[in-house]
């Protein structure tokens, strides 16, 4: 799969840093406009089908699908009692991964923590350095934001509004839906707009029980809106439609690419235009600046394998390295003109860092399903989503903003219920008879955007390539903790209303970062004094610099961000191409 050597002597129309959802989308849109684009990815190009092996049985795997000996993935307890950098204390493990890297199918997609240290407050930072980044293993929940999110300040007075409205981005959500495929059911909810859905998945009986049980409370359970093509995509030869094969809940991606990933969904088609050059193993160190014009001139990077340094020039530079890596790169790009880092005259780069709080959940059982024949429940790309209900029509007395629940239920390849007590014949029989009756859901809530939650550069610690590490100054606040209490109470209340037997209710909050939805470190806004980017994700300070990933978010909302990242990026890249054509960058 060797690519032709990238020509680093020519000046590209655009140089993109990062190949995940944002970088892939930028590559797709800009090459479609006919621009000559170079895409730099810090990680390697994996033979991804060989990594994912979605149809492999555990008994055919040397480690039954688990990590090989000498490898370890951090667990919640370790994230709680230890401080970053993670590495010291784990000398026995040659490879140390974030919590998501706990399977044989995800281990090569996430980074080795030892090579990529960070410091400061506790944070479960999941990074995937390879072509496609985290889209190779994402959870696929693909939700839209609405004006309840874009104009949240108008509703509760907190924070800032986005510089766009739903009507600005709606056409781009449509484009993303049609180009990449999404499954779901129309619900006509003003706070969670519908997409242009392909064939929906189906709810199982426990989910129907819950859906009907909470209807009288005015609450909505809908099929998991998954960024998965269920009808297929005629324009994309790299992706198959979903065949409901099962084991979709296994940590790892989709080897037939029915689930969206950036390489097959965006990058390979972009390469087919002839306008895209890809260079992997390219670790960006700095965005270079022309001292005469003050504009970005290109990217200085190190080849991760040869350790050789290179500089490549571009008319525009597009940062899409992920929310925290993009902030790090801007802060690293200090110069005489920009002593606080690039695009940072506001001092807001790295700040207003926000995400989703996770942890509180309920697990229960639809007892009428006990002993019924097994059903295929994990052949669906997702189970269900229970939509936000707080602070829509009525104000909650204890907190602002909202949360939704992601749920799962039914049989899976590895059975639920094995953590129950006991042993022997009854233990075995209960696991068998109960396997299809379980249902559980956990909440994702908005963490408020706060200036005092931020990242900066560690003055001492560096990564394997000698690049200063990121240092975290980040904690959940009172609003989040009050929301978490409510999550637990409402989870319990809804299971009770549906007549589900409750097995366990938890209010334990997971370590910061667990949602892998970090956002906001280079936020958009109309005021250059309090924001980094304008509504087209263009730097207020440097006109030919765009930051097109989650760092542009003004608030986190409670919806999963990937679909919004791609819709925003598409809109911004259309603008960029137009400006470049008019010679206005």
């Amino acid at each position: 799969m060797a690519e032709p050597e990238a020509d680093l002597s020519k000046k590209y129309d655009a140089v993109i840093i990062g190949s995940g959802a944002a970088g892939g989308m930028a590559a797709h849109v800009l090459t479609t406009h006919g621009l000559q684009v170079l895409l730099l990815e810090a990680g390697k190009k994996l033979n991804i089908e060989q990594e994912l092996r979605s149809m492999e049985w555990p008994y055919d795997n040397a480690n039954r699908g688990g990590l090989p000996p000498g490898s370890h993935s951090l667990n919640h307890n370790e994230y709680t009692i230890r401080r970053p950098p993670y590495g010291p204390g784990f000398e026995k493990s040659k490879n140390l991964y974030s919590y998501i890297g706990n399977s044989d199918y995800a281990k090569n997609i996430v980074v080795n923590e030892r090579d990529n240290p960070y410091t400061g407050t506790n944070y479960a930072w999941v990074r995937a350095r390879c072509l496609g980044g985290k889209t190779n293993i994402w959870g696929r929940l693909a939700l839209r934001l609405s004006d309840y999110d874009f104009k949240a300040k108008d509703r509760d007075g907190y924070g800032e509004n986005w510089p766009i409205s739903y009507s600005d981005i709606a056409p781009y959500y449509d484009k993303v839906d049609l180009y990449l495929g999404i499954t779901g059911v129309k619900e006509n909810l003003p706070y969670l707009p519908d997409s242009i859905f392909q064939r929906p998945t189906k709810l199982n009986c426990a989910e129907v029980t819950l859906k009907q049980g909470i209807q009288k409370m005015g609450r909505v359970l809908t099929q998991y809106r998954a960024g998965v093509t269920t009808d297929g995509l005629k324009h994309n030869k790299y992706r198959s439609r979903c065949y409901g094969r099962g084991a979709c809940s296994r940590k790892g991606g989709c080897d037939i690419h029915a689930a969206f990933d950036s390489p097959t969904g965006l990058i390979y088609p972009a390469m087919d235009t002839g306008n895209l050059t890809l260079r992997t193993n390219s670790v960006a160190r700095e965005i270079t600046v022309d001292p005469e014009t003050g504009k970005a001139s290109g990217v200085h990077f190190t080849d991760s394998q040869t350790m050789k340094d290179y500089t490549v020039r571009g008319k525009a530079v597009i940062v899409a390295a992920s929310t925290l890596e993009s902030a790090r790169l801007l802060l690293l790009s200090k110069s005489r003109l920009y002593p606080n880092g690039l695009a940072n005259s506001s001092g807001h780069v790295g700040h207003n860092f926000c995400e989703h709080i996770m942890g509180p959940y309920v697990a229960g059982q639809a007892t009428d399903l006990v002993g019924k024949p097994p059903t295929l429940d994990d052949g669906r790309p997702g189970s269900f989503y229970l939509t936000r209900f707080r602070n829509l029509a009525e104000k909650h007395p204890k907190f602002i903003r909202g949360y939704g629940f992601e749920g799962g239920s039914g049989s899976s390849m590895f059975p639920p219920g094995t953590d129950s007590s006991g042993f022997g014949a009854s233990f075995k029989e209960e696991i068998r008879k109960n396997q299809g009756s379980y249902i559980a859901m956990g909440a994702f809530g908005e963490v408020l955007s706060r200036y005092e939650n931020f990242v900066d550069l560690d003055p001492l610690v560096k990564d394997k390539w000698g690049i200063p590490s990121l240092r975290f100054h980040y904690k959940f606040g009172d609003n989040e903790h009050r929301m978490a209490e409510d999550m637990k109470e409402t989870a319990q209340e809804m299971f009770e209303a549906a007549g589900l037997k409750i097995i366990f209710v938890s209010d334990r909050v997971l370590t910061e970062g667990w949602s892998i939805h970090e956002l906001g470190t280079a936020r958009m806004g109309n005021d250059p004094k309090t924001s980094v980017l304008n509504q087209f994700q263009q730097s207020h300070d440097v006109k030919n610099l765009f930051v097109v990933d989650g760092s542009a978010f003004v608030n986190a909302s409670c919806q999963n961000p990937t679909w919004t990242i791609m819709a925003l990026c598409w809109r911004s890249c259309d603008y960029l191409a137009d400006q470049l054509a008019k010679n206005e960058l």
């Binding site: 189906k202 094995t418 042993f423």
Partner: protein, 211 residues
């Protein structure tokens, strides 16, 4: 033992630890079957490994360098089968070769604590079986085996005790080994997935034919 007569584990263990200490002091293990084996956890490979000798590579390692002695392997078979037994529906841990999975997992582990948990745990199971049943675990009846593990299961929250830690570790690896085996997935759970289906299955739908 009867249900009316609950075990006080912390009280009881003083006695069987005494027994255990006596036996260990005589360097004779209460393993009835293979008295010529190396001591548990002190098999040839463990000695070679601790002396810094390189591990045999590839297939050789699998056959030649076992962590557990044959007697210990038999003991693990019996322990795991007591956790997940054969029944009229499907085979149990023994048929699913869970002991082989445990052997591989512990042998390849880089966690010395895990190795210690297994070595010590197997000794403790023997001591407990001698104490409660007057015979080795592998020679005990199914009911007698259950009685030993029930003492630990009934006290499973006492995780400061090494025998309780071992019980959790035994159960964890037995469950993992069994439900990732052919018998566990296909015979026991009758898992429906991992094959091409033409339509999603919803509430009330029959399982559609596969292609």
């Amino acid at each position: 033992m009867s249900a009316k007569d609950p075990i006080d584990l912390k009280q009881d263990r003083r006695q069987w630890l005494k027994t255990s200490a006596t036996v260990l002091g005589a360097a004779v293990l209460p393993l009835s079957r293979v008295s010529t084996d190396a001591l548990p956890g002190e098999s040839q490979s463990a000695q070679a490994s601790s002396a810094g000798a390189p591990q045999a590579a590839g297939g050789e390692a699998k056959s030649g360098a076992r962590f557990f002695t044959p007697a210990q392997h038999t003991l693990i078979e019996e322990l795991s089968e007591t956790i997940i037994p054969a029944d009229s529906h499907s085979g149990g841990a023994k048929a699913a070769k869970v002991a082989d999975f445990i052997e591989q997992t512990v042998r390849e582990s880089t966690d010395d604590q895990q190795k210690t948990t297994w070595r010590e745990g197997l000794r403790l199971m023997e001591s407990m079986s001698q104490h409660y049943n007057g015979k080795s675990f592998v020679d005990a009846s199914a009911e007698e085996k259950i009685a030993v593990l029930k003492v630990l299961s009934d006290n499973e929250q006492m995780t400061e005790l090494p025998e309780v830690q071992f019980f959790h570790e035994l159960k964890r690896l037995t469950v993992r080994g069994y439900y990732t085996s052919k018998i566990g997935i296909h015979d026991e759970l009758e898992y429906k997935g991992n094959r091409v289906l033409m339509e999603y299955v919803g509430c009330g739908d029959p399982t559609p034919p596969t292609t």
